[in-house]
């Protein structure tokens, strides 16, 4: 529950993050320049049918601020405070797979404050705190393995 509280009540860092987002959107490299970046290719060290393993980089960055680029999958629910960041624009096919069938390499993004949706073909950069490990969203039941919390994003 404490995790949920941090999302609802913005703290000083989130407000700073919000300011930084504005700066980044305006083309500045200022406040986020030092944030380590993470790519989709770097998420898993080992991939096998019996499970994946997080990469050393993910393990090292856990709990720290990261920047990740990707595409915003269409929101699961209109009112959800989170979205799924994907490597390529998502095209879910009902008869190829079910709605539950996200690719392995996704990152769930929990927003620090509400932001508007962007077109699915638009590359975005997300900044926030990396969290690794299985977690079930209490509201939607959505299970995720990697999350960015207290997040802000901007169009690249």
């Amino acid at each position: 529950m404490s995790k949920m509280k941090t999302i609802i009540a913005p703290n000083r860092r989130q407000i700073l993050g919000g300011l930084a987002a504005t700066a980044a959107a305006a083309g500045s490299t200022g406040a986020w320049a030092a944030t380590p970046s993470l790519t989709f290719e770097e998420l898993y060290g080992k991939v096998s049918v019996l499970g994946l393993e997080f990469s050393a980089k993910v393990n090292a960055l856990e709990g720290r601020a990261v920047a990740m680029r990707g595409f915003m999958a269409p929101p699961l629910k209109a009112e959800a405070n989170f979205f799924v960041l994907t490597k390529i624009p998502m095209a879910l096919c009902p008869f190829c797979s079910s709605d539950a069938d996200w690719p392995d390499d996704i990152v769930v993004v929990y927003l620090g404050k509400k932001q508007t949706f962007v077109q699915p073909s638009t590359t975005i950069e997300v900044h926030g705190k990396l969290e690794a490990g299985s977690w079930t969203d209490p509201e939607t039941g959505f299970v995720s393995l990697l999350r960015i919390r207290d997040a802000q994003y901007s169009v690249v």
């Binding site: 624009p89 077109q119 299985s134």
Partner: protein, 585 residues
């Protein structure tokens, strides 16, 4: 309003109410003798139990069925909306063949259905049945596979596919209980139970309640084989093992997306050989890569049940020597890659799962294992990627997978040549709206790609080459290639070229849940915007309602002829294996 009109309206309304009850199995259902099924009556609105009357061939139903149904006063829908009363009788079985006229009434509501309960031959006609299903297999796929694989000179094919020489054929109607159209769940469920059902449903009739596991069940072929025979059962697919086609051999759910539960159902039936993808639903949720929402570990459960596990091509070969006879092959967390990606382009997810076996290796491994059973076997082989690549209009990938499917059919035919007591059935579960209309010839003049499309005499013949004789063209990206085209789809960009960078993604979803053309292809030279002709919430090409071609060889295959419903196919399979007769003594 005049009195006559009022009277007419009242009569019309009453006539509507009189037909309100629904009876499962539905009218004209075909049911194997002694095969368990659930009987359900859904009344429109709440009725009193004392007002309900059910007769079977004129007698009280309890006498004929030998059991009493449970009365449900109020079935609830979404938001606890009361849907009406119901009668439910689980696990009914009818031992005597014949017509069963079931008449139901409650006050003014009446409904009458007639079931055809059928027996089978006393003795099996075939010891083994190999059922090969090309998911989405359409006529254009096989024509293209023949031309790409064998070539064509002066209008005659330079060679024949393995499926070209099967002895007998039928046209199969694939419509659903609620729609003229179908999906893989509905059709494969009909093939594997003998009962038609609704889109998305597996091994059940689709009732009105929201719970996807309480719908009236019917027996699957694997369950019938376990009940009546000592035959081995094998499931081979290059999709997830929980996907509709493999799931239909064992599963009961209204919702094909219940993949976590379908994994559990697979374990309950314990097919002797289970090869495919979908390991994500076998792993507990705490394991990265899992798609379960619980901590159940089905890799462990299958191992505890005596299965030898194989996770790649090499392990599959080694698993052939297993003592228990049970093999679980999991080769991908999701669907296996298409043959074009796996064997040639190394795209898709081949970098992550580099040693996936193909359909040919899996079919060979399954045949080796299953044929050890002196009582014979039933093997289902699905070429899933024909469909999975046709949805996104990626015709090259769909056709190369059709060639691979044909090679698996070749293995089945080789097996049947040595074991003539084997029935081979080759079919699809539905078609796609795809046709070959000619060629695309890069040497034709003109800046626009459509100027390079050759129709009629200007089509000529494509210039695919198979220099190593492996049955696959050395390249799909030749200068004069087949032009396959879809008659439906979302907004997309037609590039007139094979998608060498990875499977085609024609459309992606926007914030209004509408599918728009994927701009990734906009700047491909010559790409043309094609406006979609299906609703904007459709992400890809859809299944066609056109009949499917079924071909067959071996004992019992003479029954496949003319036009048949997909549910009729089960009846023939049951007859060939004499499933009306207990063979386990």
């Amino acid at each position: 309003m005049n009195k006559f009109l009022v009277a007419l309206l009242a009569t019309t309304a009453l006539a509507g109410a009189a037909e309100a009850a629904t009876v499962y199995p539905l009218d004209r259902a075909t049911i194997l003798t002694s095969s368990p099924f659930d009987f359900k009556v859904e009344f429109d609105g709440v009725v009193k139990p004392e007002d309900i009357k059910v007769t079977v061939n004129g007698q009280d139903y309890k006498t004929v069925f030998g059991k009493e149904a449970q009365f449900v006063a109020e079935e609830k829908g979404a938001k606890d909306k009361v849907l009406g009363s119901a009668l439910v009788l689980r696990g009914l079985a009818l031992a005597t063949p014949g017509a069963y006229k079931v008449e139901v009434s409650a006050g003014p509501q009446t409904k009458s259905v007639t079931w055809d309960v059928y027996g089978t031959a006393d003795k099996p006609k075939a010891k083994n049945v190999i059922f090969l299903i090309g998911d989405g297999l359409s006529v254009a796929h096989r024509t293209a596979a023949r031309i790409m694989s064998k070539g064509m000179s002066e209008g005659k094919a330079n060679g024949r596919l393995n499926m070209d020489d099967l002895d007998r054929m039928a046209f199969i109607g694939t419509s659903s209980t609620e729609a003229v159209a179908t999906d893989s769940a509905n059709t494969m469920s009909a093939y594997m139970t003998g009962h038609k059902t609704a889109v998305n449903a597996l091994g059940v009739y689709a009732d009105r309640t929201p719970d996807s596991f309480d719908d009236p069940k019917v027996e699957t072929l694997a369950e019938a084989l376990r009940r009546q025979t000592k035959k081995s059962v094998g499931i081979v697919t290059n999709s997830e093992l929980q996907d509709a086609t493999p799931a239909a051999v064992v599963a009961h759910t209204r919702k094909r997306a219940d993949k976590a539960e379908i994994t559990e159902m697979m374990l309950e039936v314990k097919p002797d050989v289970v090869l495919g993808g979908g390991s994500a639903y076998f792993l507990p949720k705490s394991t990265p890569g899992s798609k379960r929402k619980d901590e159940k570990d089905f890799v462990k459960s299958f191992r505890d049940a005596g299965y030898t596990l194989a996770t790649d091509k090499a392990e599959l070969v080694n698993a052939a020597g297993t003592n228990t006879g049970k093999v679980l092959g999991l080769f991908h967390t999701g669907n296996l890659d298409s043959t074009l990606d796996r064997e040639f382009l190394k795209k898709g997810t081949v970098d992550k799962f580099p040693n996936q076996p193909g359909l040919v290796e899996m079919t060979q491994a399954a045949l080796n294992q299953l044929s050890k059973n002196p009582d014979g076997f039933f093997l289902m082989v699905e070429a899933a990627n024909i469909d999975k690549m046709s949805h996104p209009l990626d015709w090259d990938r769909a056709v190369i997978d059709t060639i691979e499917f044909d090679k698996a059919i070749g293995l089945a035919r080789d097996f049947a040549a040595k074991n003539p007591d084997t029935l081979i059935v080759v079919t699809g579960d539905h078609t796609h709206g795809v046709s070959i209309i000619g060629t695309v010839d890069d040497s034709k003049a003109g800046p626009e790609m459509r100027e390079k499309v050759g129709t009629y005499a200007s089509a000529g013949f494509p210039n695919y080459v198979d220099s190593n004789g492996d049955g696959y063209p050395d390249s799909v990206d030749v200068s004069r290639r087949l032009f396959l085209n879809a008659n439906n789809g979302p907004d997309h960009y037609e590039t007139y070229r094979p998608k060498l960078d990875g499977p085609f993604v024609p459309a992606i979803q926007n914030e209004k849940k509408e599918y728009v053309a994927n701009e990734a292809y906009k700047d491909v030279p010559g790409a043309v915007f094609v406006a979609g002709n299906i609703p904007r919430d459709g992400d890809s090409g859809v299944h066609a309602v056109d009949d499917v071609v079924l071909q067959s060889s071996g004992p019992g295959s003479e029954g496949f002829k003319g036009y048949m419903e997909q549910s009729d196919v089960y009846r023939l399979l049951a007859d060939v294996m004499a499933l009306g007769v207990k063979q386990t003594q």
